[in-house]
Structure formats: structure tokens, C-alpha cells
């Protein structure tokens, strides 16, 4: 679970000492029960690990991670004999975010190391250094790690170049891949029909809004909008009105108008997906046969035009041109400026726990907005049907085994066993319930009674996780292409958008054309034929 979400739920359900003691007493009773007393040992483990250290009992520490790792070793023991990997050394590259990512992996894998006899060396990277380190390793042929924690958008760079090892069947069985939410199933994690990824996370954008702006007698006098058309109208109508909470000028939807190292493009995607992601095709950024950018088709131009309309109407807060997504979420929305936003899960969770947040009691969530009409790129015409396409921005982290282990069966099995341990069904439940940096990503993570039993307030868990679950399993989810250099495309698009918003281009169409031209250049630079091949593979079209 993302740290802020964890803190938020704790703050929201206001767990007191008495409740916490009750929970812990229950946990103690469970652990004291003789094994025979439980009907199902497997579900017992799930209940048991969810009590470590106990919701509200402070942040988990290394001893907790090791205990969870120890309790979840059964799956490994079914496939690996004790001491089987004696003498094997593996190198694991991942993030060094404080008490998240590699910190947890170390604890989880310690009992695994003790049982199997393998030794793991660690490459810890700051998040900001991650992309550059990975790209340089690939470009200079110096892949010096056997296992990597990696986001799905980089699959094109790694899987597309044959740098990863294919997942053996026993691993698929051990981690129960059928349990993944729909969008994390094929083609995500696969390349040319082969599976490579052990998912440990899920990501998507959801819609956050201020409840006090909507409903009868509110400043808008309208219900919560569900389409971008309604959002734009409300945003324009709010010009000149007063925020009910702060008394400062009221504002509607908050678009980030400044880039954010490529990540800012996800926010235009939120708007564009509803217009451009037609249910008849998984492609919505490039045409699969030619890699011709779709970013300057009427759907995308409409999305850009929507933003430009709001700039024209003076509907944004002052200096919005210098606001990146971090600003819109944490300095504006949470601080009481603006009433609508799309973001990852943690904006809602920060609503009550952040010192600068004033909107904790009035924030609501939903799936990303829809559109009244959708552009059919195949027929080249708009269709007047409602279209919803939640944006699975970044797709989430996974664990991948590199091709460096090929040729050494013992090492290969060890690497895959370690990856499978980290992506195990039970262990992942713990990671989704406690601060880990990861969100729930399996259908079994949404069994709310398990959370309730562990001490969570059911209403809050359902509210937050429900909007994620609805987005994950949406039949028309917009999933980004996992092609080499995807963040280069995003980054240059951000730059061109920033110029367009600043009035450097004459129109939305001209701005979109500039992005398309820049994308064509990147495609040619990386190699068009290669890009077409990997794009099709990433969409599952080849």
C-alpha cells in the first residue's frame, strides 16, 4: 500500500488505542491457536500476516518484513529444496525509497536466502536516477544485475531487446497469475507471447473531487460531473465565484500546464483517453501498422482544445502555466484551490494526513470521467456514444529476471524463485495492506472482509480501493504502449504542450501537430520498423 493511503485510512477511521488493543488481542489469540484448530492453513497465513505488526501499531520494521517473508515461504518450499541454491549469488536492482521497495525486499528475502542458501547483492537507486541508470545499462551493454524491479512502461526497452529471461511455468503456477486484475494480464508483462513479469503493483488514475462544490445549494448547484464536457462547463461557470471552504476564488478542474519529466503527459491522456480510446482497438497513441502518431487526430486535439478553452476562459488559478502535477495535487487541490483533479491513489490518502491539506472531510472519488462522444480512428469519424476509458497510468511495478542468468540453470531457478517469492499471492496481500510503495493488483486483494478482519474500516477501504478496482477491471481501460523510449515521447509532448499553452503555437491542432512531428522524429531515431514490431507485440497484436 502507498504510505499516504495507509496513513490516511488510519486517520480517517480514527482508530483509538482501545480498538487497536482489541485487534492486537485478537491477533494474539489467533497466533496462540493450535494449527489443527484452523480449517484452512492458507487463509490462516493470510490472516496471520495481516496482523504483523497490526493496523495502527506503528510502521512495520525489518523484523516484521522478515517475519512476513518467513510465513510466506511455503510456496517456495513446494518448488525448492532446502539449501538447493547454495553458492548462488544474485544481484538485485531496485529503488531505495526509505522503508519501501528494496528495504522491504531485503527483509522478505532474508528467510528465503536462509532457506535456499542463495545470496543476494543489492543495487539501490534513488527514484530520480532509476531511468538514467537503466537506459545507460541497456545502451552500453552493461547489464550488471540479475533481477530488476521495473515499471511496465520500460518493458519495450528491456523485453523488446531480449534482455530478460522468460518465466518458467512453475513460477506462473506458484504466483497464481489468474488472480491478477484484468489489465495486468496479457499483454502486460508479456512479449511476443512469452511471459516475463512478476507483478508486484498496480497503477491507475482516478477522479478526485470536492463534495462541497456539488449538490443542491452548492456553489455549482450541480451534481458531480461524470464527463469532460460537464467538467469544462462547470470550470467555466465557476469563474468569479468563491470557494466555499477558503473564501478565495473558486476553480474547477486543475490541469497541470507544466511538464514533469514525462509524467505530466498522463494528465492530458486522462482527458484524451475518453475521446480517443475507442473500445474497438487497444491502440490510442500510435497507429499500430505505421507508428504514425494519433496524437494530432481530432480526439487528441479536442483534449488539448479543452485545456486551451479553460486558459482562455481564465478558469485556472493564477500562474497555472507554472503548475506541474505535483503542484496541482499537493499545493492546489489539497490546499483548497480547485475542485476537481485526476491523480494516482495517494492524493486522496494525503487529504487527511498532509499538514497543508484542508479538504480531508470533503473529498470524494470516482473512476476517470467519460466523454459524450468518442472518436473512431478506424472510420475517422466521431460517434455520439458515451465512452469511459480510465487511464492505467504507469501500469505499476514488477519484478523481472534478466537474461544474464541464462545458461546457468541453478542461478536461473534461484532468480525466478526469488522473484516468485516477492510476487507471491499471500506476501502481496501484506504489501498491499501495509506501507510498501505498492497498490493492490490482484482480485484477491479486494476481499474487503480480510481487510476488515485485519482492523481496517470497511467503508474507507471500499471507497478508495473500490474506485481502483473499477478502473483496473474496466473493459475499455486505456493502457500505455510498452515501447522503447516511451518516456521520451511523453517528455517531448510535455514540452510542446507547454509551448502551446503559453501561446507559442496558433492552435490546438498546431500544438498537436508539433507533438506528432517530434514523435515521428523519435520513432525514426529509435528505428521505425523495430518500434512497429515492439508496439504490436506490446498491444498483443502480433
Amino acid at each position: 500500500m502507498k504510505v499516504q493511503l495507509y496513513n490516511y485510512i488510519l486517520a480517517a477511521q480514527k482508530m483509538n488505542r482501545r480498538q487497536m488493543l482489541k485487534t492486537m488481542a485478537a491477533a494474539g489469540a489467533v497466533t496462540m491457536m493450535p494449527k489443527l484448530a484452523t480449517a484452512d492453513g492458507h487463509s490462516n497465513i493470510r490472516a496471520e500476516i495481516l496482523k504483523i505488526p497490526g493496523v495502527g501499531a506503528g510502521s512495520p520494521t525489518d523484523s516484521d518484513w522478515q517475519r512476513v517473508g518467513e510465513l510466506c515461504l511455503n510456496a517456495t518450499k513446494e518448488n525448492v529444496a532446502a539449501g538447493e541454491f547454495e553458492g548462488v549469488e544474485l544481484t538485485f536492482m531496485g529503488l531505495n525509497n526509505q522503508n519501501l521497495h528494496n528495504f522491504l525486499f531485503r527483509g522478505f528475502l532474508k528467510p528465503w536466502e536462509a532457506y535456499t542458501g542463495a545470496k543476494i547483492n543489492w543495487i539501490d537507486l534513488a527514484q530520480a536516477d532509476y531511468n538514467a541508470r537503466l537506459q545507460q545499462s541497456i545502451a552500453t551493454g552493461t547489464v550488471d544485475f540479475d533481477i530488476i524491479e521495473m515499471g511496465a512502461p520500460f518493458e519495450g526497452d528491456v523485453l523488446g531487446k531480449g534482455l530478460a529471461s522468460e518465466m518458467p511455468d512453475w513460477v506462473k503456477k506458484q504466483i497464481d497469475m489468474d488472480d491478477y486484475v484484468d489489465y495486468l494480464k496479457e499483454p502486460v508483462g508479456t512479449w511476443d507471447g512469452k511471459t516475463y513479469r512478476v507483478s508486484i503493483d498496480g497503477d491507475c488514475h482516478t477522479f478526485a473531487y470536492r463534495k462541497d462544490y456539488f449538490g443542491e445549494g452548492s456553489v455549482t448547484g450541480k451534481e458531480v460531473p461524470t464527463t469532460w464536457q460537464e467538467i469544462n462547463q462547470i470550470s467555466k461557470d465557476l469563474v468569479g465565484k468563491e470557494d466555499p471552504l477558503t473564501g478565495l476564488p473558486a476553480h474547477g478542474y486543475l490541469d497541470p500546464l507544466k511538464g514533469w519529466g514525462g509524467f505530466g503527459f498522463y494528465f492530458l491522456e486522462n482527458r484524451a483517453a475518453a475521446y480517443a480510446k475507442h473500445p474497438n482497438s487497444p491502440a490510442w497513441l500510435f497507429e499500430p501498422d505505421t507508428m504514425k502518431p494519433m496524437v494530432n487526430n481530432p480526439a487528441w486535439v479536442q483534449a488539448i482544445q479543452d485545456v486551451m478553452d479553460l486558459i482562455e476562459a481564465d478558469a485556472y488559478p493564477t500562474d497555472q502555466i507554472n503548475a506541474d502535477p505535483g503542484t496541482t495535487a499537493f499545493q492546489q487541490f489539497l490546499a483548497g484551490t480547485g475542485s476537481m483533479l485526476t491523480w494516482w491513489g495517494d492524493v486522496g490518502s494525503s487529504a487527511r494526513t498532509s499538514d497543508t491539506s484542508v479538504v480531508g472531510d470533503v473529498v470524494g472519488f470516482g473512476v476517470n470521467p467519460a466523454s459524450d462522444r468518442v472518436y473512431n480512428a478506424q472510420s475517422g469519424a466521431w460517434e455520439e456514444t458515451r465512452n469511459e476509458a480510465p487511464n492505467m497510468a504507469y501500469i505499476g511495478w514488477g519484478v523481472y529476471v534478466m537474461a544474464t542468468v541464462e545458461g546457468d540453470e541453478k542461478k536461473k531457478k534461484a532468480a525466478w524463485s526469488a522473484a516468485a517469492h516477492l510476487g507471491g499471492k499471500d506476501l502481496s496481500l501484506w504489501a498491499s495492506a501495509y506501507p510498501s510503495g505498492f497498490q493492490p493488483y490482484r482480485n484477491s486483494h479486494f476481499q474487503f472482509e480480510e481487510w476488515e478482519e485485519a482492523g481496517y474500516d470497511r467503508a474507507y477501504v471500499e471507497d478508495y480501493l473500490g474506485s481502483n478496482a473499477d478502473s483496473y477491471n474496466h473493459p475499455n481501460a486505456a493502457i500505455e504502449p510498452r515501447i522503447p523510449g516511451i518516456f521520451q515521447y511523453y517528455s517531448v509532448a510535455e514540452d510542446e504542450l507547454a509551448k502551446g499553452y503559453a501561446g507559442k503555437y496558433a492552435s490546438a491542432q498546431e500544438t498537436a501537430d508539433a507533438i506528432a512531428a517530434a514523435w515521428e522524429k523519435i520513432t525514426d531515431q529509435i528505428g521505425r520498423d523495430e518500434q512497429i514490431a515492439v508496439y504490436k507485440a506490446s498491444l498483443g497484436l502480433s
Binding site: A132, G261, P317, I321, G485
Partner: protein, 367 residues
């Protein structure tokens, strides 16, 4: 025994035979030819002209090191004792030259390729494409134009710095305290300045400066319009580095001969006359040095821009370095980014050389 030449440093007699000299030269030339041949072979392999070669260029590096070793050895073989003296410097010189020349040559090569780190084919030469792209890249020229504005701002910084230096040089109360206080901004990292001031104090909604402006009836906007955004960047950069110029000028002021200034006062010069006719001309060499160093600092301006505006709005605050940073870091566009950097390097060399030539007449303190 030598009877002429450099007798002072000669401690032993050198009687070097022609054969020995030939051996030394042969050693240098044979290793050089070997290295060149190996490099040519590897180049042919890389370009697909021959089918066999090495996986990496490392063997060529070893050949270069062999040549460098042979060159050092040959100094002694050919020149004897004199060669030994050369050996005190030559290895270090070779090392430095290698670290400068090889990367520069590599960068030059890279700047004429289409190397994108995500490309599976690695760097591929693309002729003059990058140059043409640069020529048509109005946002690079825009960044260069911004650099002109940023460099011109140094003149204003100089005036302020001179004023502060004069103030701190005069007999004021708590002079030492103020000297330290005025130096404090220089001790801050520009990254910290950009966060503390650009992203916190000037934050439009809850930044204290914004609140103050709102209280007096002005709607704050610091990075909304191109001109104001550029000015704010200049101001933050100036705030950090004016103390640097100030401390240089203050040192200059303190080193001025007091007799000359006193003499001007005896002659009846007013404060302004004394400054204009005596202090300012005497301070010219220090002033020019401070300005030139500050301009060199300014040409590297990037951190504040990257943190606060990312070059926006619409490229209005972009410096060349921040522009290249985005090209490199966000887009892994190594080929084009390197070309832009090389062009900028050439422009800087020309500009600074011309500047130094221009100001050289003021660099000498008048007699």
C-alpha cells in the same frame, strides 16, 4: 663528458650511441603504428568492412597505453639523463591529454550521430542532420537569446555589488557582522534557493510574498508571463551570486592605496569625484575580473530554471544548459544534445576569448 648545453642539471655523462637512439625511435614508431593499425582495424570492423574484430574498443586503449609507455621509455633511451627529467612530467601530461582529448573526440563523433539511448542500433552517423535540426530549432535559438538577457543582467548585478562593497568598506556600525550576513546567500546551493524562494516564498497561493502582495491589493503572479518569469529567475540568480562579486570588489577596495584617495581629498575632490576619478579607475582590473568570472558562472545557469520553471512559460526562461538537460535527461537524445553542447562550447570559447581580448586593456591597473 659534456662541455656545453644544459650543464646545470646534468649529473651523469651521457654517451648515447646512434643504435640506441634508433632503438628508441623504433620503439615509439612501432607502437604508434601498431596502435593506429589496431584502431583502423577496429573502425573497419565497427563499420562492417571486415568481419573479424574485438567486441569493445578496450584493446585499442591497451595499444594506446603501450604506445604511451614506449614513448616514456624512449625518452630515456634516446635522451638519457635529459629524458629522465622529461619523465617527471610526461606521464601526467599524457594522462591529462587523454582525459581531455579522447572524450572530446568521442563527443565530436557522437554529435554527428542520431544516438538515442533507447535505439537498439546504438549511435549511427547521420551527417549534418543534427546541425540542420539545430539551425531550424527555434527553441535552441530562443535559449541562446535568453542567455544574452541573462548575461546582460550581470551589469546590474555589478552595480549592486559595487554599491554593497563600498558600503561594507566604509566605516559603518557592525561592519563585520554585515559582511558575513551579505555573504550568506552565496553559501546556499542554487537548488536550495530555487526551492526555498521560487517554490515556497513565491508560491502563488500560500507563499508569504504572495500573501503580502494580496494583502496590499495586488494579485501575485511570478511565473505567469514571460518577462516577469525571466526577471524572477534573474533576481534569484543575482541574489545568490551578487555576494560573490561583492566580496571580490571589497577585497579590491581594501587593497587600494589609501594615499591616493587621501591625496584626492586634500586636492578638494568631493565624494563622487573621488569615486569617479580615482576609486573606479583603480578598481577596473578587479571589476573586470569579477564581471568575467560572473559571466562564466552565468553561462552555466541551469539549476534554478530546471527547478522552478522547467524553461517555461513557452521557453521564456530557458537557458542553453537547461534546454540541453531536457534533451539529454528526459529524452535520452544523446546525439543531438551533444551537438548542441559542442556548439555552445564553441560559442563560449569565441565569446570569452573576444571578451578577454576586449577587456585586456582595462585589466592592468593604471600606473
Amino acid at each position: 663528458m659534456m662541455t656545453d648545453g644544459d650543464l646545470l642539471h646534468t649529473v651523469t655523462a651521457d654517451n648515447i650511441s646512434n643504435n640506441r637512439k634508433r632503438l628508441g625511435k623504433l620503439l615509439v614508431w612501432s607502437t604508434a603504428l601498431f596502435g593506429l593499425a589496431l584502431a583502423a582495424w577496429q573502425m573497419a570492423f565497427e563499420t562492417g568492412r571486415v568481419s573479424t574484430g574485438f567486441d569493445t574498443w578496450r584493446p585499442v586503449l591497451y595499444a594506446y597505453m603501450l604506445w604511451a609507455t614506449a614513448l616514456c621509455a624512449a625518452q630515456v633511451i634516446v635522451n638519457g639523463e635529459k629524458g629522465k627529467r622529461t619523465l617527471f612530467v610526461l606521464p601526467a601530461a599524457l594522462f591529462v591529454v587523454s582525459l581531455v582529448v579522447f572524450p572530446l573526440l568521442f563527443a565530436l563523433y557522437i554529435s554527428f550521430t542520431d544516438w538515442n539511448l533507447a535505439s537498439p542500433n546504438g549511435p549511427q552517423p547521420n551527417g549534418w542532420s543534427n546541425v540542420k535540426e539545430m539551425w531550424n530549432d527555434e527553441f535552441y535559438w530562443n535559449a541562446l537569446k535568453n542567455m544574452v538577457y541573462y548575461v546582460l543582467a550581470v551589469s546590474v548585478e555589478y552595480v549592486i555589488a559595487f554599491g554593497l562593497a563600498l558600503l561594507l568598506n566604509s566605516q559603518i556600525r557592525a561592519r563585520k557582522f554585515f559582511r558575513v550576513v551579505f555573504l550568506l546567500p552565496l553559501m546556499l546551493s542554487p537548488v536550495a534557493v530555487s526551492w526555498m524562494i521560487g517554490k515556497s516564498m513565491l508560491e502563488v497561493r500560500f507563499g508569504p510574498v504572495s500573501r503580502l502582495l494580496r494583502d496590499i491589493g495586488v494579485e501575485p503572479s511570478f511565473f505567469g508571463s514571460p518577462e516577469i518569469a525571466r526577471f524572477m529567475i534573474m533576481a534569484m540568480d543575482a541574489w545568490t551570486f551578487i555576494p560573490f562579486m561583492m566580496i571580490m570588489l571589497l577585497a579590491g577596495l581594501q587593497a587600494l592605496p589609501s594615499e591616493v584617495i587621501e591625496a584626492s581629498k586634500v586636492d578638494g575632490a568631493t565624494g563622487w569625484q573621488s569615486f569617479k576619478e580615482v576609486i573606479f579607475p583603480l578598481m577596473l582590473p578587479v571589476s573586470v575580473t569579477a564581471i568575467v568570472i560572473r559571466i562564466i558562472f552565468k553561462l552555466k545557469l541551469a539549476d534554478i530554471i530546471i527547478n522552478v520553471t522547467s524553461g517555461g512559460p513557452g521557453g521564456a526562461t530557458d537557458s542553453v544548459t537547461s534546454f540541453i538537460f531536457r534533451e539529454y535527461r528526459d529524452r535520452s537524445n544523446v546525439g543531438y544534445g551533444t551537438l548542441l553542447a559542442m556548439v555552445y562550447l564553441i560559442l563560449i570559447i569565441i565569446f570569452v576569448t573576444a571578451l578577454l581580448k576586449l577587456v585586456s586593456r582595462w585589466m592592468e591597473r593604471p600606473a
